[in-house]
């Protein structure tokens, strides 16, 4: 460690090794608390090393990152368990070092070594790290850091699949409704990413988990009393159902009278934003060519009310698509 502050330039590999040594030290001494000077010195050293990693990966003010240096760094980083140590000990780092570490981990997810994404391979054999990252939403000190890392990790399709198929998916329904706006929104962003990024994987997940997933989605999110929860959920529902790859799921969703009732209630929400998002889902019910009798029944029963509602349903901005959709919905309902 003596060479650390000497003028001899360290290679990217050196920096990774020293970072790992710092982390190992922290790991071994994690039992001993107290502000002993040695420990603080080590922490400062670690902070410097992580910042150095960041500047190699992102470049600094003067220079762009060098591909070769990034490759060396990435190889060395994933050769051993540096990522694991970094994730586990993140809560012990100070705010600035945590932010640097988060950016380093994010960047590493995109680094390729001989056209392979090393991070993805590493995570596939260390899936428990994702469990740790997800549980971060239960600790508000690290939630935003773990959350940001997690969203980078689920860019890998195999990792997203792991999370989707894990028990963690159920926990997101709680995380989304945490009182702290920053954290709840972060969880929402991750949830949305999971359910929209990898089309085929998402379609498969929704098909296999249709019953419990939409039950939770309807009762806990769409019927929530929390404005933000409702607004984000209805937007996400629209994004999911309107995606071509989820066509089968959409058909199933719009064939249910219970779903229709929830959507019709959202059309009457006091929030204009929620009304508009709800309309984008409601129109699918109306446009469905094979409406089940129970759906037709509800639409017919409420026909005059619905038509009256749509007559006065306007959005501030001119939107041809919206107007066309509305016309279509009115036509469909009138024709029933």
């Amino acid at each position: 460690m003596k060479g650390l502050f000497k003028s001899k330039p360290r290679t990217p590999v050196d920096v990774v090794r020293q970072t790992r040594e710092n982390l190992v030290h922290l790991d071994l001494n994690s039992g001993s608390r107290g502000g002993d000077a040695k420990r603080e010195e080590k922490m400062a050293e670690l902070g410097k090393n992580i910042r150095e990693l960041k500047s190699i990966l992102y470049g600094n003010g003067e220079s762009e990152p060098v591909t070769e240096a990034c490759v060396q760094l990435t190889q060395e980083f994933f050769r051993e368990n540096t990522l694991r140590l970094l994730i586990i000990h993140l809560p012990k780092l100070n705010l600035e070092t945590r932010k640097d570490a988060t950016q380093v981990v994010a960047n590493l997810q995109r680094q390729q070594v001989s056209s392979k994404i090393v991070a993805s391979e590493y995570l596939e054999s260390n899936k428990d790290l994702l469990d740790i990252l997800i549980s971060g939403y239960e600790n508000m000190d690290i939630a935003l850091h773990y959350g940001a890392m997690l969203r980078e990790c689920i860019r890998h399709q195999s990792i997203a699949r792991y999370v989707l198929e894990s028990e963690h998916m159920k926990k997101f329904f709680d995380y989304i409704q945490l009182p702290n706006f920053d954290i709840a929104s972060d969880a929402s962003a991750t949830f949305k990413e999971l359910l929209t990024r990898h089309k085929a994987t998402v379609a498969e997940f929704l098909t296999n988990n249709y019953d419990w997933f939409f039950e939770e989605f309807n009762t806990r999110l769409l019927s929530s009393t929390n404005y933000i929860t409702k607004r984000q959920a209805i937007k996400l529902l629209g994004d999911m159902l309107l995606d071509r790859s989820n066509a089968a799921v959409m058909v199933r969703y719009v064939s249910s009278k219970d779903n229709l009732m929830i959507l019709m209630n959202l059309l009457r929400d006091s929030s204009k934003n929620i009304q508009i998002e709800a309309f984008h889902v409601f129109k699918l019910f109306a446009a469905n060519k094979n409406k089940p009798a129970e759906v037709v029944n509800i639409l017919v029963t409420n026909r005059s009310k619905l038509l009256r509602f749509f007559a006065g349903f306007k959005i501030d901005k001119e939107d041809e698509q919206f107007e066309a959709d509305k016309e279509q919905v009115i036509k469909e309902i009138s024709a029933l």
């Binding site: 972060d186 990024r197 929030s271 934003n273």
Partner: protein
């Protein structure tokens, strides 16, 4: 490493403070709102007490109406997150944020003395003494250093976003995209520029428009690839002038005129230069100050110093302490509560300068990026905004002959003036009356110029779209390739942001052109009516005296 132990504390249902000692509850019932200390289009700022922490735990709460705010929730979240992760003594950090119905409550430290903008307008209309300017600027620079080191660009440096606590400590507020969401300065913008009363100007986009363009760097508009941290340095230079003079350069003009001045500033400012020596009331500033400011206002971003380098500028040597601010500035202004009492009335003053009522409802939230054609160089540094006015006067623009069109005057005098619109019209009519010929000339000048801007913006948009289209092909490849790894590169997001901004500007300018034309027609009509009335009047008077 001092935070280390604090960071080890167990999780809880309360939001943490950077220091770790104080935790702020996440429900509305735990706070008692004391009074409104600022308001904007979609947000209101309150002074409040956090009840569980005792009656001395005063905070500022910014309540953002998420229904009215046009910004989407993702932007609001990104901003809240950024704010939660910044930690610097000169940067305002939110204690916590949570939703109350369709409002987002952002709980922040209460900055007892308000914003520098408010301080200027309530006690220093002609600017702060130079040593005080130095104290404020030094702390602002420290904040900028930190932000830039974090790779964040503030993008809205101005006196209205620099807050002072009652102990003289200075904090920079409102970060990055925050300008589009937190469109008024927290606990601070009780000053007239940023506080139109929602009732009168609820759908106006003018407060933001007026508050921000003056500080804007030329490349903010001109560059198509985004702009760097050096744009902040420009705004910092303008803010230095604002603090020294009590207002930013050219701010005595209403926004639309200021914009015009900036388009044509090359000629006008040189005109002004010729008359500089005749200016009687000219503030004296040290050479170090002038040198510091002009280095910030260098046209070429690369030549502007970094925040870190600026901190080492001789101007900041021997800078006084924050106590000095308390004794020399805070002692001279009324408390923020007192200032707020007439805040709403002050706000009306903006109405007078609103060229015509703005009709875009929610559009107001989007930050306006204005044309910026400053022609600053070391020689004709615009230290005294009034000179530009002189230039304008000489050029025969009719609407600003009257002294009371000066914003500072408007703001301070307007307390009892309920109907600003009529007053403004009166002023304008008088102006037109005096220079009837010029009025027509003015219209001829304004409309083509606005048309030119419009065309230029359309062109810029075209270019951005072009770049984007190329970019999106690339992105599509990325998705097919490796699970969409390349899908959201930041450059693309930035460009998209640009396109939106530009589109919005084009839209606005279009409306403005229309409004300008309509108003000119109206004024001409009024003028004719007045002239004919005047004739009848004088003829009847003549006959009467006979």
């Amino acid at each position: 490493m001092l935070q280390l132990l604090a960071l080890l504390r167990p999780p809880s249902a309360m939001a943490g403070d950077p220091g770790g000692e104080v935790k702020y509850p996440l429900d509305a019932e735990s706070y008692r709102l004391l009074c409104k200390i600022g308001s904007g289009v979609s947000a209101v700022v309150y002074k409040a007490v956090c009840l569980p922490l005792g009656s001395s735990a005063v905070v500022a709460i910014k309540a953002i109406d998420l229904e009215r705010s046009r910004a989407n929730l993702d932007d609001v979240w990104r901003e809240a997150k950024a704010m939660a992760l910044l930690s610097h003594r000169n940067v305002l950090r939110a204690h916590c944020s949570f939703t109350v119905g369709s409002h987002l409550w952002v709980v922040m430290p209460f900055m007892g003395a308000g914003s520098l903008h408010s301080i200027l307008s309530h006690g220093f209309p002609d600017g702060l003494p130079e040593p005080c300017v130095a104290v404020v600027l030094k702390d602002t620079l420290r904040a900028l250093c930190y932000l830039h080191e974090q790779g964040r660009i503030h993008r809205d440096i101005k006196a209205g976003n620099i807050l002072v606590d009652s102990d003289g400590s200075v904090k920079l507020a409102d970060f990055g995209v925050s300008a589009s969401i937190y469109e008024i300065g927290p606990a601070a913008s009780s000053g007239p520029i940023h506080a139109p009363p929602p009732a009168a100007l609820g759908s106006s986009c003018f407060n933001d428009l007026a508050g921000t363009p003056y500080w804007m760097a030329p490349e903010v508009i001109h560059s198509h690839v985004g702009y760097g941290i050096k744009a902040d340095i420009w705004s910092f230079g303008i803010t230095a002038l604002e603090l020294a003079h009590g207002r930013p350069p050219l701010s005595h003009l209403p926004p639309s005129k200021s914009m015009l001045m900036r388009i044509t500033s090359r000629v006008r400012l040189e005109d002004a230069e010729a008359t500089t020596s005749t200016s009687a009331k000219r503030k004296k500033f040290s050479k170090a100050f002038k040198d510091m400011v002009s280095s910030c206002l260098c046209q070429e971003p690369a030549k502007r110093p970094s925040a870190e380098k600026l901190l080492r500028h001789p101007f900041f040597r021997g800078c006084r302490s924050n106590d000095y601010l308390v004794r020399n500035v805070l002692a001279a202004v009324p408390s923020i509560e007192e200032r707020c009492k007439d805040a709403n009335l002050c706000g009306c003053a903006r109405g007078a300068r609103c060229v015509s009522p703005c009709r875009h409802a929610a559009g107001s939230v989007v930050k306006n990026r204005r044309i910026s054609g400053w022609n600053f160089n070391e020689e004709n540094l615009e230290f005294d905004p009034a000179e530009a006015g002189a230039a304008e006067k000489r050029c025969g623009l009719p609407f600003h002959e009257e002294e009371d069109d000066d914003p500072a005057d408007l703001e301070s005098n307007s307390a009892g003036d309920g109907n600003e619109d009529s007053r403004a019209t009166a002023t304008m009519t008088r102006g037109s009356h005096d220079e009837k010929a010029a009025a027509t000339g003015f219209k001829e000048v304004v409309v083509p110029q606005l048309m030119t801007i419009l065309a230029s913006l359309e062109m810029q948009r075209g270019m951005v779209m072009h770049v984007l289209e190329n970019g999106s092909c690339h992105v599509a490849d990325g998705i097919n390739g490796c699970g969409g790894m390349a899908a959201s590169n930041p450059g693309e997001e930035m460009l998209l942001g640009y396109v939106r901004q530009l589109e919005h500007r084009v839209e606005e300018l279009g409306t403005e052109v229309e409004e300008e034309v309509a108003r000119n027609a109206r004024l001409e009509k009024q003028l004719q009516e007045r002239v004919s009335a005047h004739k009848t009047d004088s003829s009847s008077q003549t006959s009467g005296s006979n």
